[in-house]
Symmetry: C2
Subunit: 668 residues, 2 copies
């Protein structure tokens, strides 16, 4: 079973195994089973194929490696340490401790060579598909005859669990459609998941399924045999038209007393288990974390190889820059994530008093198209709702196998994969991805949204049809709780603009935010464009909330806060109350996150602490708005799911009208 | 293309088509394309096969029909009206209007014959799999030789979009594994989705994929040919070992000027379009909503057939009841959803002062096993985390193809399908389903959670590993925002018990709630069992929040609110502050929803309006807690994602300690 090519291979593989085993044992927490089973696959891939430079983990044309089975994190850390990345043995010994570079599951850290955060199953697999799309797109746009400057593979190791998750099925279907020939997945087919043998529930024919997605399926091969793995990867690389799945038969926890069972998945082997495994695989019992000199000498050659490879690439790049200076500059700028000069010029005047009433989704479509002309890295699409989400870049083609230079992605009805693929696009670099779907279906893509926020990725979510305002499609399609629940995600910026002018500002904030994702929450229905000569400028959006209007210079008696389509209601109620003699302030609050980041002084200037007669109006769930209106204020919003009816009826029946706002204010 | 068997068939099919077309046209909103394409499939199924009684839509052994492509709702309404359900022509004319029985997407309404709420794609398909599991399970448990008293098919019509969604892939894989031979899916393979031809992104071989899941795949057949449809459904019914997918080739918007294009999907045909379609298919132009007498006479025979079929079944049931009186009574009780007498006896004393500290997940496992012994309809499982979620019923077997009488479901790593299948189990009746996964992965199953809440289904979600308290697995596995974001879902009851005694009460609340789903939020880590002789009884949980302890009879100066694992911190802080002379009240608040339902008087007694020095402590996102602490209070909780480290380090680093709570109180 352990037919490795050379003694050195065997030594290296066992070194990796026992670094992992000892790391888990010292942490007294972690997953030893997967590293013991996957070490040969990972080693063979890294030793024979992976194009990377451990001393420059940011080299732009490196192969991407994704450990989708993130619970095997210590395997990745072992590979990174051994091949010479900036990850010391101390860090391995510090596995799963506060402040270490070696957390329980891999966390995106380009300095260290960790390409993406994985753990929630299926996500890494779909990230890899995003990376492979980015590679294909950039190479189609920038490579020139004799200059394959973007030309790398994306490798992923996936587990049973990864392939059981729906998101991986969605992504795989898309990868097959797009002919991502440089995507190679090694499937650790060990037949065990946490509840026992995968046979208890996972009896489908995975090979046949992937073949149905139009993948090349290789194997099953012996996942402990370096020659077989090598041959399979070669075969995979040779098929440039189809992504490849290599079925690697392995044994979880290989070498340990409980190998081949779920008992070796998620907890340390224990002293006796470690001893027995070392004995069985012929490893010295002490010291822990043993790395034979010859192993380090051998594996660390990755540094030399990597440096040479990168230097060769740099030379090619320089020649390319001489022959295609404009392209080279554009590529570098795009890969760096830097925005073109003046990318936001004219955004503030795109809409004005002469603009007709329009849905914020329509305004968004116009802004997107304006920005797309200036920012070549903007690339994305919708989960089969482009005409509704207004996500098409009009003067671009579809990205497809036939036309990999196109910018419009066609995600199909696959919201979850769309989110996870977008993370891969952003992780790869060279792409600022955007997605599109109805706000209600943000629920289908919460896991990747969360990961984008955790990784600090610039991904822009276009969520349209943002409330009961979508009307007749009814409660299954009317978001009620989605807006508030997105606000609970750390580091996700949620922006719900109130008109076209705020929509332009929202896009500016989203594109300008390179520290995390932004969700744009947009209406289906038309909204009047606010007269910015009469009311405060839409630029106030950049601060999250701003005083749109107040009835007098004096401090207000009451503050009405509105967002999105309800700002119109807030404003009209404000005017009417002012006519009745009340001192009213109307605040537009498109973004909680942007507002909460402002200095206290600014926040106080918008919402003075001593004005407690506050009413918020938003066609979403009320819970949470006490954040701004407190216990003495009031919220005009939703308490239940919506209903199927024309929009006007719904606003009236659910009590989100000018009269309702006025009544609340008056009752305070 | 329109090879129907008889003239009557043709008349009926066109009646269905034009009821749909006219309904959409009158509403000036809706989806005419799907009904025009699917009418023949739906008609043939209902006319030739469907076992149902329009006059008793609750007949327990009826075939279940799920329109997964919920946007074709008007097709279902037309079928219901024509076959004689309690759905008048007025309702069809009132399509998509406030208060009608005919909302934009089908909404679960057993009175009317609507088996489930559909629209969000993939959900109905997976619901159907839950229904088929329920049928298989109940029949295995209750049928006796000669008495197939539970013996019906589950039919589903699905669209391209349904099959692109990952959730349907997960569910289909499971259906194949479980050998659900009585599940039959008619796939409306019309090659069009909203963005255009499905070929732009959906080029996978669906037949091969389903065959890989171990389904019988039939076709492609002509979806306009009644004979072919009939033959295919027969073939599907004959294979009792495998679920069947019938590939029906159809044309979206058949008969209308824009047939075969995405333009006919989501908006009315328009006057001219309606006219042209009627002309093309030989339908009279006026009146609208025309139902030829002979059609009604013919289709309404469903009532006679249904009554006879149900009567025959009742007779069989009576005989069964005589031969197996105990079984018959048990079955009826189970199907009615009624709980056995004394089902909750002893719950309040299951844990007491002598109980050792234990994780609330462990307490939950004990309660589940106690209840499972009394409530035979409890059935469920985990998405491959049973040992961690403590969801196994110890003295029961797995539900499997070989042993369909077992109660433990093995969902595999398929959280989304687990949620949607559970909805199907609950919808079928006879089952109170529960699910299990880590709280973080509630994100993978939000769409079905929402639908369970909307439909008011009794589904119990066991979510363990509920905070940073899970420790070393790190931020990818530590829920931060999930708890609060579940609280935003209308009609979902979220309960986070603080110890074993509250956990028993939480289960009582969950099982007793037959108006909606309940999420139990449970710890991985051990918690001390609160001394209920010294502190208030855990029964207080039933009111959502209760005064656990206060330092003096006088009104408190400050209130500390804790939930789950943080109640311990709240309590200790309270004691220490009391020692310093402060008048402190400590409130246990396991459930916002239960508390907010209490009369104002009770709420006021727990949280007196004039005590504003309130601190809430919960190891989740702070946003939202102002609901109870207002603008003058304070929250000890999370503002960011977690980190990988041992639990004690995490609580300290993230500032969720007794000292932090005390400092907050003292600063007020």
């Amino acid at each position: 079973m352990t037919a490795v090519k050379t003694e050195m291979d065997q030594l290296c593989i066992n070194t990796i195994r026992f670094l992992s085993v000892d790391g888990v044992q010292r942490a007294n927490s972690g997953h030893p089973g997967a590293p013991l089973g996957m070490a040969t696959m990972a080693y063979t891939l890294w030793d024979r194929f992976l194009k990377h430079n451990p001393w420059n983990s940011r080299w732009q044309d490196r192969d991407r490696f994704v450990l989708s089975a993130g619970h095997a994190s210590i395997l990745l850390y072992s590979m990174l340490h051994l091949t010479g990345y900036d990850l010391s043995l101390e860090e391995i010994k510090n596995f799963r401790q506060w402040g270490s570079k070696t957390p329980g599951h891999p966390e995106y850290d380009l300095e260290t060579g960790i390409e993406t955060t994985t753990g929630p199953l299926g996500q890494g697999f779909a990230n890899a598909i995003g990376m492979a799309i980015a590679e294909k797109w950039l190479s189609a746009n920038f490579n020139r005859p004799g200059f394959d400057i973007i030309d790398h593979f994306t490798y992923v190791i996936a587990s049973d669990g990864d392939l059981m998750e729906g998101v991986s099925g969605e992504a795989a279907s898309m990868a097959g459609n797009l002919g991502l020939g440089k995507l190679i997945c090694l499937y650790d087919d060990n037949g065990i998941s946490i509840e026992g043998k995968t046979q208890i529930t996972f009896t489908e024919n995975v090979a046949k399924r992937f073949s149905a997605y139009d993948w090349q399926v290789i194997g099953p091969i012996d996942g402990f045999n370096t020659d077989e793995i090598e041959k399979a990867i070669k075969e995979a690389r040779e098929d440039s038209e189809r992504p490849s799945l290599i079925m690697c038969k392995t044994i979880i926890g290989y070498g340990s007393p409980k190998q081949g069972t779920e008992k070796v998945h998620g907890s340390p082997l224990g002293k006796e288990g470690v001893r027995a495994a070392k004995e069985k695989l012929g490893w010295i019992q002490e010291p822990d974390f043993h790395i034979p000199c010859e192993v380090l000498n051998y594996i660390r050659k990755a540094v030399e190889r990597g440096k040479k490879a990168e230097e060769a690439w740099k030379e090619k790049m320089e020649k390319y820059a001489r022959e295609y200076p404009e392209q080279a500059e554009k590529l570098q700028k795009q890969l760096s994530g830097e925005l073109p000069d003046n990318w936001d010029e004219g955004l503030s005047s795109l809409f004005n008093n002469d603009s007709p009433p329009m849905a914020t989704r329509s305004a968004s479509g116009k802004v997107l198209n304006m920005l797309a002309g200036r920012i070549p890295s903007l690339m994305g699409g919708s989960a089969d709702l482009a005409p509704s989400n207004k996500t098409l870049i009009n003067d671009s083609d579809d990205f497809s196998n036939e036309n990999p230079a196109g910018r419009n992605l066609r995600y199909g009805v696959r919201e979850h994969a769309m989110g996870a693929i977008s993370n891969g696009l952003a992780l790869h670099g060279g792409v600022i991805p955007y997605t599109g779907t109805f706000l209600i279906f943000s629920d289908y893509m919460r896991p990747p949204i969360r990961l984008a926020a955790m990784m600090g990725l610039r991904v822009i979510y276009i969520f349209t049809h943002d409330s009961i305002g979508l009307g007749e499609d009814g409660p299954t399609h009317q978001p009620v709780e989605q807006l508030m629940s997105l606000r609970t995600v750390p580091n996700l910026t949620v922006i719900r603009p109130a008109d076209a002018t705020e929509t332009a500002q929202a896009w500016k904030a989203a594109v300008g935010n390179n520290e995390g994702p932004t969700a744009l929450i947009l209406t289906r229905q038309n909204l009047p464009v606010i007269d910015r000569e009469k009311y405060a400028k839409a630029q106030g959006l950049q601060k999250g909330a701003y005083v749109l209007w107040q009835s007098s210079e004096n401090p207000p008696e009451t503050i009405i806060i509105g967002t999105g389509s309800e700002l119109e209601i807030a404003l009209e109620a404000g005017h009417k109350l002012a006519e009745e003699g009340m001192k009213v302030r109307v605040v537009s609050m498109p973004s909680w996150e942007l507002f909460d980041k402002q200095p206290e002084e600014y926040r106080e200037s918008v919402l003075p602490s001593d004005v407690r007669a506050r009413v918020a109006v938003e066609a979403g769930i009320k819970t949470g708005w006490e954040h701004y209106v407190g216990l003495d204020g009031s919220v005009v919003g939703m308490e239940s799911f919506g209903a199927s009816a024309p929009i006007k009826v719904l606003y009236k029946k659910f009590g989100i009208t000018v009269e309702d706002v006025m009544a609340r204010v008056e009752s305070m």
